[in-house]
Symmetry: C2
Subunit: 474 residues, 2 copies
């Protein structure tokens, strides 16, 4: 099939060679590099081919040794059959699963339900383009020169202005512009920790967050959450009694993947608790503007009296992911250090996207756009939920978020969501398996479905395919 | 004077209050935060004011305690007099000096000889703008969507094509696009080290490099260099005998601040030495295209047979600093890890600058621009050297680089270059003091003068002011 991805074709060739006994059970397969050379494909394609076969249980990876043929297909032809999902935990770490699922953001023809990014159709392309052209014309160096390390001043003014909506009293000098929210989180984490410190995160949580924490040599404890109200403050307190937590990194507004939103009084309680214990809170507010209700939820930062909250956000979920415009509001204690780390790690962020965004935000275009987008996403969430109720087994549990762009779905405990992901991908549907959202294994039978993709016949077909697979596997 | 910077005015007010004995010797000054509030200025302005006074020897900082009044002006009115430069080493770490000098890239009215960035006048603004507009029109998501993690494919094709000039055989799949060269260096360092490892750098070296190394918890040893030929391979070998060096991070082509260029046969010897000892080389080639001679110097990467060289570069020095387009060529051993870290730390780089650059590079515009820029920089280097010979004391030693954009100047050993910097800044001239280019103190009487600023009457006046100060202080 010419629509197949290259890595699937490479995997098929290897599968055939195993079927033809060119490679037998226990045989070592060529290294990824060798495979890449032999097949004339890229290293990532070679990796993906192996990941796919690993996901199918055909091969296994052994640390520092390579890939080996796992089963003899002649002896175990029914291995991946319904009702007997292959448990991959011993060969696939959650990081390997993340890498496999997110090998690239662009998965071609597939129905992508795994990417939580706003669809281009909902974004004000023409007006953004106008702001870019305006930036090229009006900026003194035509955006060729370096920006200030802290970021473009006009942009920081706009971000400070937006802060009023979440209860913040912020000046442009309080803000450090970053390349998206992830860079902001990494810089804040680096500013307040040293390797070996412990960070508390929500369970489940966005994989990018714990990957960043782990990459800085920090330890993780997971805090219990409620699917509607987020972090359970009393239970968090119990955890703080036991673990020496230095920092909490939470997404109080429309947590990904839960979609939960902490009630404002709980945010206040959380900040009071952490202030009492002198524990820092890094608050990721990337989804804060995407609320479906009447009012924007406040942020923990708005209750912060002693400078323990470092707030991070970006325009990637609400306006333009590819512009990579995010920011940190570290507070007076950590501002200088975050700014210093920004200089050291990437000097400054790109000038043109900052200047264009400043212009776009200046004249009310953003608020206008957000109103339309909130409404569209709310409608989308209802349509996706309806379809899931229709096509998934009766009694499937899922969240009912009041903002953001994802649904969190609990499946039959026998289902391995990564296996489901692999099977779905063969049918041109991509979904995020629950394993990606914890450093532990408790979400093996959960999936995250993004409802940001415009609802159409293809999206419905994607949900139908998923539902059919889930029914088969239950 | 209304042209004075805000921080200078704040510093003047404090100085006056010290003169008026509101604060006396040994008194603790308000915290930076308090100063910022009281004076209604930003935190950075408050910081800068204190840095300035510290540089003048009026106040001193005590770790974790704050700023204190240092001298009683009534008792020591001649303290900063000629011939008795104040030694600041015990209060100013080189990091504090870097922060003070580079508080921001934009120093307003001053003659900036401290910034090694291409001047907008030498850059093809109109053609770059055209490429941006083309990118907005032609890109499938109009540059709003996420790029591939590894970077825009068209851009990577162009970078691979450029590799032929330095002797590289590189495919687009070998490249990871980053936000400038600094991010590439940080990702490569993270990919090949763990905290506590030792990295060898050139002495002197660009402060951004050792700040990045230090921020990753790595140790530094400095390797001796020759001002014309760069790293002295035999002497490096002696250092490797003594220190357990895991990685070398060198700038073989037109090192900043030396301007040295390793002869190609020495690059080959270096790679052979490091290969024999299984030591990794991170090669920063950011100035490689800015050669004044007939041929582009090769890179160490071109001699690499076993994948020990990770090459990093960018377009920031030769085309558009504010676009933040850089890349790493990590080689097959480290490609996957560098790509993984890119995803974790900043997801992807901004789409629009990448797509615009790909278009600009595609049609030969870059090579055309480089030819003109090399010629202009060569001419500039000669004019600046001439003026320095004219205005500086006889016998002042300086480099004669065959590429890049900086001169390295040795002054009378009694001169404290940071003091010179502060005095020059009061006269609207900014220059980079030698203390910024080593983790040790051996370059206290060196300065780096960038000749990238267009030569004109103001530039000449800047050199004249510097020369007069040096003469005064000698």
């Amino acid at each position: 099939m010419h629509t197949d991805h290259l890595y699937i074709r490479v995997a098929d060739r290897i599968e055939q060679m195993i079927a033809e006994k060119v490679w037998k059970t226990g045989d070592r397969l060529p290294s990824v590099r060798m495979l890449s050379k032999e097949q004339g494909v890229s290293l990532s394609t070679a990796f993906q081919a192996y990941y796919l076969l690993e996901g199918k249980g055909m091969i296994e990876s052994r640390p520092k040794s390579g890939y080996y043929v796992r089963i003899d297909p002649a002896l175990a032809p029914d291995a991946p059959a319904a009702g007997k999902p292959i448990v991959l935990e011993h060969t696939s770490s959650n990081e390997e699963i993340v890498t496999s699922v997110y090998k690239d953001f662009d998965i071609g023809e597939a129905v992508n339900l795994s990417l939580a990014a706003p669809p281009p159709e909902l974004l004000p392309v023409a007006k953004l383009n106008k702001s870019v052209v305006h930036a090229l014309r009006s900026h003194k160096s035509h955006c060729i020169g370096y920006e200030q390390i802290q970021g473009n001043l006009d942009l920081r003014k706009q971000i400070a202005r937006m802060a009023f909506n979440w209860g913040g009293q912020i000046t442009p000098d309080d803000i450090v512009v970053t390349s998206g929210c992830m860079e902001a989180l990494v810089l804040c984490l680096k500013a307040v920790t040293k390797p070996g410190d412990t960070v508390a995160i929500e369970s489940p949580t966005y994989f990018g967050i714990f990957q960043a924490i782990q990459s800085l040599g920090l330890k993780i404890v997971e805090a219990p959450t409620d699917p509607t109200n987020g972090v359970i403050v009393d239970q968090l307190e119990a955890i703080l009694d036991v673990h020496d937590v230095k920092v909490c990194l939470f997404v109080p507004n429309f947590n990904n993947p839960l979609g939960s939103c902490m009630p404002d009084d709980q945010k206040k309680r959380l900040v009071e608790l952490l202030t009492r214990r002198q524990i820092i809170l890094i608050e990721d507010d990337i989804y804060g503007e995407l609320y479906f209700g009447k009012h924007r939820p406040r942020t923990c930062k708005s209750y912060d009296r002693e400078g323990i909250v470092l707030q991070c956000s970006s325009l990637s979920k609400s306006l333009a992911p590819g512009y990579r415009v995010g920011w940190a509001i570290p507070g007076p204690r950590y501002l200088a250090e975050v700014n210093r780390l920004k200089l050291i790690h990437s000097v400054t962020s790109a000038t043109l996207p900052q200047v264009a965004m400043a212009h776009f935000l200046e004249n009310g275009r953003y608020e206008y756009h957000l109103k339309a987008m909130r409404k569209a996403l709310h409608t989308q969430s209802l349509r996706y939920r309806q379809a899931i109720q229709e096509y998934f087994p009766a009694g499937t549990r899922m969240t009912c978020p009041e903002g953001g762009m994802v649904l969190w779905i609990e499946l039959d405990p026998h289902i391995d969501a990564f296996h489901l992901h692999n099977e779905a991908l063969r049918r041109q549907v991509s979904v995020a398996p629950g394993q990606m959202f914890s450093v532990h294994t408790q979400y093996r039978h959960y999936i995250r479905v993004s409802y940001s993709r415009l609802w159409d016949a293809q999206a419905e077909e994607g949900i139908r395919v998923l539902g059919a697979l889930v029914n088969e596997m239950s």
